[in-house]
C-alpha cells in the first residue's frame, strides 16, 4: 500500500523516511521535494557550477533511495543526505581528477542574478570569491560557514583528516578576505 501525494505533504520528515524505507516512492518523492532546493544550493556552492551541482544532487538522491534502508535514525535524514552528497561530490571529483569547472565567466553568473540590487551583487561577489578557492577549501568553507558544521562534523561528513580541514578553512577564509576586500585582513 502506498500513501498519496496529498497525504505525504502533511507528514513529518521522519514519517516519510520510515515510509521510504518500506520502498514507498511517493514518500521519497516528497522527501526530494522538501530537500532539493537546500541540497542543490549546497552543491552549487561546493562545486561552483549549477549544471554539475544538479547532476550531483540527482545522483545523491538516487543513492539515498538505494541505501535509505541503512539509515537508522529517521530524524537524522538531512545530515545523512548531506554526508551522502559530499561523498558523491568527492567521488566525482576523484574521477575527474582535474576538479570542477569554476563558474568561468562573470557573464554566466550575471545572467543568474535576478536584479542589480545590492543583495544580488553581494551574492555575485561571494560566488566569484568561492570560485577562486580549491575544491576542498570550498567544500570545507561551505560546510563550516554555510551549513554551520563544526570541524568534527565536517570530518564525519567528508572523511578528511581534522588537521586538513582546519588548514583548508583557515587558508580558504584568508583567500576570501583578500578577494572580498575585508578591511581586517
Amino acid at each position: 500500500m502506498s500513501i498519496d501525494a496529498a497525504t505525504a505533504r502533511k507528514l513529518s520528515e521522519s514519517t516519510l523516511v520510515l515510509a521510504a524505507q518500506l520502498r514507498d516512492r511517493v514518500a521519497f518523492a516528497e522527501l526530494v521535494r522538501r530537500r532539493e532546493h537546500w541540497l542543490r544550493a549546497l552543491l552549487r556552492r561546493v562545486c561552483g557550477n549549477a549544471q554539475q551541482a544538479d547532476d550531483l544532487a540527482q545522483d545523491a538522491f538516487l543513492r539515498a533511495w538505494q541505501s535509505i534502508a541503512n539509515l537508522r535514525e529517521p530524524a537524522a535524514f538531512a545530515g545523512w543526505l548531506r554526508r551522502l552528497a559530499m561523498h558523491v561530490f568527492i567521488d566525482a571529483r576523484r574521477l575527474k581528477q582535474t576538479g570542477f569547472d569554476p563558474p568561468a565567466t562573470l557573464d554566466s553568473l550575471a545572467s543568474d542574478a535576478p536584479s542589480p540590487s545590492r543583495a544580488a551583487q553581494a551574492q555575485f561577489d561571494l560566488e566569484r570569491a568561492l570560485a577562486q578557492l580549491s575544491d576542498t577549501e570550498r567544500l570545507c568553507i561551505v560546510l563550516n560557514l554555510g551549513e554551520g558544521l563544526s570541524h568534527g562534523e565536517i570530518e564525519h561528513a567528508t572523511g578528511f583528516p581534522l588537521g586538513t580541514i582546519k588548514s583548508h578553512i583557515l587558508r580558504g577564509t584568508m583567500k576570501l578576505r583578500r578577494t572580498l576586500g575585508d578591511d581586517d585582513a
Binding site: 518523492a29 540527482q58 576570501l176
Partner: protein, 101 residues
C-alpha cells in the same frame, strides 16, 4: 566567530522557495531507470550463472563417462575424477584470486 565569518555565513544562507517539480520528476525518472537497469543486470547474471552450471554439469558428465571408459572400475576412476574437478575449480577461481590480490 569574527564579523567577516558571520557575514559570509549570512550571505550563504538561502531564501526558501517553492520546490522545483521538474527536478523532482527527473529524480523519479532516474530512480525508475535505475530499477529497470538492476532488473536487467540481475536477469543477465542469472542467465550466465545457469548457462555456466549447465556447461559445467555437461562437461563433468562427459569427462566422467570418458574416465569410466578408460577405467571400467569406478573405484580406480574416483580419485582421478576428484583431482580433475579440483584442478578445474582452481583454474576457474585463479583469475578472481589474482584480482583480489
Amino acid at each position: 566567530m569574527h564579523e567577516f565569518e558571520r557575514q559570509l555565513a549570512r550571505a550563504m544562507r538561502d531564501e526558501p522557495r517553492a520546490p522545483d517539480e521538474d527536478f523532482v520528476r527527473d529524480v523519479a525518472r532516474a530512480i525508475d531507470a535505475d530499477g529497470r537497469a538492476r532488473v536487467v543486470k540481475l536477469a543477465i547474471v542469472t542467465f550466465i550463472a545457469i548457462d555456466l552450471a549447465i556447461v559445467f554439469g555437461l562437461g563433468l558428465a562427459l569427462s566422467w563417462k570418458s574416465v569410466t571408459v578408460i577405467w571400467p572400475s569406478s573405484l580406480t576412476a574416483l580419485p582421478l575424477a576428484m583431482t580433475s574437478i579440483a584442478l578445474l575449480s582452481a583454474m576457474l577461481l585463479a583469475p578472481f584470486a589474482r584480482t583480489r590480490a
